[in-house]
Amino acid sequence: MRLEYFQMVDRLVALDPDAGSVRADCKVPDASPVFEGHFPGYPLLPGVLMVETMAQTGGWLLLARARFTRMAFLAQVREAKLRAFVTPGRALVASARLVHDGSGYAVMEGRLEADGKTVAEADLTYRVVPFPNPDLRGQMLDVAQRVGVAEEWFHGG
């Protein structure tokens, strides 16, 4: 994870767009400017970034399902529960399950675990819309390669 760049997902370890599930490794950095403010002398991964981590993980599933013709924008977070503190250096596993693939929107359940224990969960709603510009699509394809989205999901269908 590179918190200050909003790079929350290190590597997808399981991606099944047809079944609607995804899992990702996300290692909290040992140091980040974020921890200087949250909190001084007691560094914790901010809850909003725990939610963002789940949202990005689910987002990769939606982009793969759409074969990268569409972007997923987080629109709603419900029932977010931050169950435990997450400290620097923790290895997290983020996962998301597709609940409903609607027309122009999708609903997912996200989960974040550390050492097999759930540290956060949330119901996430996304708007799934055509990419607003080709540059964003190109950037997302670059990041997709970095996080390990198989190229078979990049085009066509």
Binding site: A75, Q76, H100, D101, G102, S103, G104, Y105, T125, R127
Partner: protein, 93 residues
């Protein structure tokens, strides 16, 4: 068994916190009931789930934006319910 309208009206009342008695078949979801686009996503999700369908919202929105049909066709509740009935029938066929 509840009618399509009753089910939809109950969903809107609960999802958008609108008094049930204010919701009629002639209500326009946006113009009369003031449902915004985010709340409408919740309504759409609940309707899709309740009826086991996938409302083609993007197609409907495009048709309205292109001036092919009036928004009343899809967003006045009696029109919305007629479309839901068609989708349910098409799914069963």
């Amino acid at each position: 068994m509840a009618s399509t309208f009753d089910t939809v009206a109950d969903i809107i009342a609960e999802t958008c916190d609108i008094p049930r008695e204010q919701i009629s078949p002639d209500s326009h979801a946006i113009n009369d009931l003031g449902i915004d686009s985010l709340d409408f996503l919740d309504v759409a999700f609940a309707i899709d789930k309740a009826f086991g369908i996938k409302m083609p919202l993007e197609q409907w929105t495009a048709e309205v934006n292109e001036g092919k049909v009036s928004s009343d066709n899809y967003f006045v509740l009696k029109g919305l319910c007629a479309n839901i009935d068609q989708l349910v029938a098409a799914k069963a066929a």
